[in-house]
Every structure is written in C-alpha cells, then in structure tokens.
Symmetry: C2
Subunit: 254 residues, 2 copies
C-alpha cells in the first residue's frame, strides 16, 4: 500500500465504511487534487454566506458545524471526525448556510469544488458513496432534532457520547470503551442546547452513577449497555451496515 501516507486515504476509508469501492474508484479518489493545510482550533473551514469553492476533508483532527441565532447564541449541529468531508453540500449548493470550524488543530485537505463535481459526474460508484454519506449525515441531523427537542439533559448527553463512540469505532479511531473527547463543556453545551453549567452537572451526575469515567478530556464507559439505555440510544440512524451498491437486486424479504 503505497497510499498509506496519502492524505485522502482517511476519506477513502470513510466512504468505504458503508460503500466499498472497486480499485479504479479508489485510485480516482486518491488521485483527487487537493491543497493540504494545518489549521488551528476554531479556524473556519467554511463560513456561512460564503460562495463555496472547495470541500474540506479532515485528514486529522476534529471539526464542528455551527449556526448562530440573531442574539449570537450558538448551536453546534454536528461534530466531524478524521476522514469526514466537511463540505459535500457546499460542492453543490450556491451558498454556505452555516459555518464549519476546527475543534482541534488538524490537517485539512481542500479539494476544489469542480473536482468533486467532476468525479461525481464520471464515476457512478463514487457518486453513490457520496450520496450515501450525505444521506447518513441528514439522518444524524434528524436524530439531533429529536435529541435536542425531546430528551432531557442527562439522556441527551449520554446519547451523544454513545454516538461519538460508534462513529469513532466505525472509523477505527477508538471505540465504545472510551475515547479522547476534544470538546470543552461549553462546546458540549452548544451541541446539546444546554448551558455549560448544566453540562457540568450532568457529567458529574453520570460519573457519580458509574456510567462514565473522566480524566481530563478522556471519557470511558464502564458499562456501555447501561449508558446506551440511559442515552436512549439505538444505532439504526447511523446506518453503519454496508449499503447495497444500488445496482444489484435486493433480496426479497419475507
């Protein structure tokens, strides 16, 4: 594998979590043009209102999507982990409707918008893989609407902790034992629609009940199953099973 160091390898791995690709398609992805940049925390990848001309791919590090209310209150809409592309939407829409910022320091490969459009046009399997990625992201948004709209603070928190665990696991970065969570309690609050003070209390509560352990930014889960229950977490919305290529017949159900 001469590709081990290709900065786009994480993107390829990311897409192949759900939609395995053929060798030609894999090479096509790894051959995409890009500009690599190391970005500091809170640097913008996309800014709301900008006409987007490129798509960022997280080679390393974490990022988040956010929107602001008129009063300046922030809501974090999604967290992105290494391998995620942050701007597929922006490769097809005319204006960014929200911003993406780095959560940690990290390397981002910027692929020109035109190159994304071109590969989608010329390679059906890749178009399909990207579409699936977009649809799964939308599914996560839906779950977040539910999470923020209908669950209490403790459940909400447990739920996102579970979500991150499974997403990191799928990416092979970490797992449901625990991981390094690179978010401040304030950021967590903005992701959950809570205040930092309350996030702190909820975290302490979960810890007191033996559902999580914390040291610095590291969280671990002594009893995954119980956490899953407390978080009302069902992984279906992550669509982690392999998706059919869309070319093949579905097996008739009975």
């Amino acid at each position: 594998m001469t590709n081990a160091k290709n900065p786009l390898a994480p993107l390829l791995a990311n897409l192949e979590v759900r939609t395995p690709l053929g060798e030609e398609d894999r090479q096509a992805i790894l051959a995409l043009p890009y500009t690599l940049k190391t970005l500091e925390p809170s640097t913008y990848t996309v800014r709301e209102g900008d006409p987007p001309d490129r798509c960022g791919v997280l080679v390393s590090g974490f990022a988040y999507r956010q929107k602001l209310t008129g009063d300046g209150d922030r809501q974090i809409i999604a967290i992105h982990i290494p391998g995620d592309a942050t701007d597929f939407q922006n490769s097809f829409l005319e204006v960014a409707d929200h911003s993406v910022q780095m959560l940690t320091r990290g390397d981002v490969a910027f692929i020109p918008r035109g190159a994304i459009q071109e590969i989608v046009r010329s390679r059906a399997a890749i178009a399909h893989a990207i579409l699936i990625k977009i649809l799964v992201e939308a599914s996560i948004f839906r779950e977040w609407v539910l999470n923020v709209g209908r669950r209490n603070a403790r459940t909400r928190m447990a739920h996102v902790l579970c979500e991150f665990a499974l997403r990191l696991e799928a990416e092979g970065v970490a797992g449901r034992n625990g991981y390094e969570l690179p978010m401040t309690q304030e950021q967590l609050a903005d992701a959950l629609g809570l205040t930092p003070v309350h996030v702190n209390r909820v975290l302490k509560g979960l810890e007191a009940d033996g559902l999580i352990k914390r040291s610095k930014r590291n969280v671990s889960f002594p009893d995954w199953e119980r956490l899953r229950q407390v978080g009302d977490f069902n992984q279906r919305y992550l669509h982690l099973e392999r998706q059919s290529s869309g070319q093949e017949m579905r097996i008739p159900q009975r």
Copy 2:
C-alpha cells in the same frame, strides 16, 4: 399542457423551483411509473425499520416526518407540503430510520425505488435536481436543530410559521399573507419540542401582540416583517434561489 392532470406534475414543479429542467428530463419525470393512493390522516407513508421499496410523492395534502424516544415522546422532524417527495433517502438507504405520516388526507403517488434509482442513473440533470432537494432538506434539518436547541418558545413558533409561509409561497400554494395550517396544537408542539399547553399560550401571545391572526386553522400575518424579526428568520437556509446546473462555470465573484 396535457400534463396538467398528471399526478407527478407537482413533483416536477417542486424540483424546478431550484433546478429548471430541459424538456426531455421533464417528460422523463412525468413518465415515471407510480401507484396513486388516497391516504387518510396519520396513515404511514414509510415506517421506521421498514426496508423501503418505494418513494412517496405528495400530490395533494400534507405529511410529516417523526421519530420517537424510548418513552414514546414524539418529535416531528419536518413537514411536507404538496409536491414534496417524502422518501428520496429511502430510495438509497437500506432501512428507514424514521417514519412519515399523513398530516391531512391527501393523494400520494408511490414510485418504485428501482425507478428512482434508474432515472438518477440515466439522467444527470434529474440526479442533480434530486441531490439539491436532498441537500436543501438537510439544511432545513440543521435550522431545526438550531431552532429547537437555542431559541425560546415564541421565537421558535414564529420561525416555523415563517418557514412554512416561504415554502408554500415557493410552491405557489399560498404565501406570506397567510395560509391554512393543517396542524393541531399538539402536532405543532411536537414539531417545536414544546407541550401543547405552552404552544397554545405562545400562539395567544403572538396573536395578542398582533403578529398573527387566527381563525380555525387559518393563520395570517398582519405584519410579516415584524414576525420575521420576532422569529429570527433568515431564509438563506431554504436556498430558494435557482441553483446552477453544476455543469456551468460559476461567475467569478469580486
């Protein structure tokens, strides 16, 4: 226009709001196979957990997406208006991660999953139009996360009232003067992450302040601009401007 009565005409109009199509593509859409059914309120179009095999198109009537918590609390994730397709996601994912139900009585044209996949494969412009639709829907989900996560009850309510107005207007069904809102206060509550009681109070508050007028299910807006402000509403996320085809060069910005 011999197509005036084609049940798929609303779908075509819906897609062409953002992505005008050529004559061949238009005919291809109108020629899609479908089964037409009249559904009563609360009938399911898709059910969470089902392996989806078709895509519903609202010919007339309204529908909503919903998810439930483990406790049975409901969150409405989106409202769909005539012309909307309710299941593009399901044409590409293996399992429905949420349910769609009729809000009102209405006619739904069910298009087989395979036909959607086929038209997307064979007609680039249609694939593009559907992709844009999917992306705009995702954008609306993001706005809802913000709405439910960071805005107070009154602002939340005003915001969705504005959103519906503009979406109905784009579809040519109604406008920002007012419209028939076919939702009970309980459904509104489930869409906003509130209780029905509080929704009632918020509505009365908005009415008392002259921001809305109500009679039965009809709402009208005596002062759109003020409602817009109260609702912290900025239509950018609806992406109502025409989208470029993705084939053409973007005009350089300055």
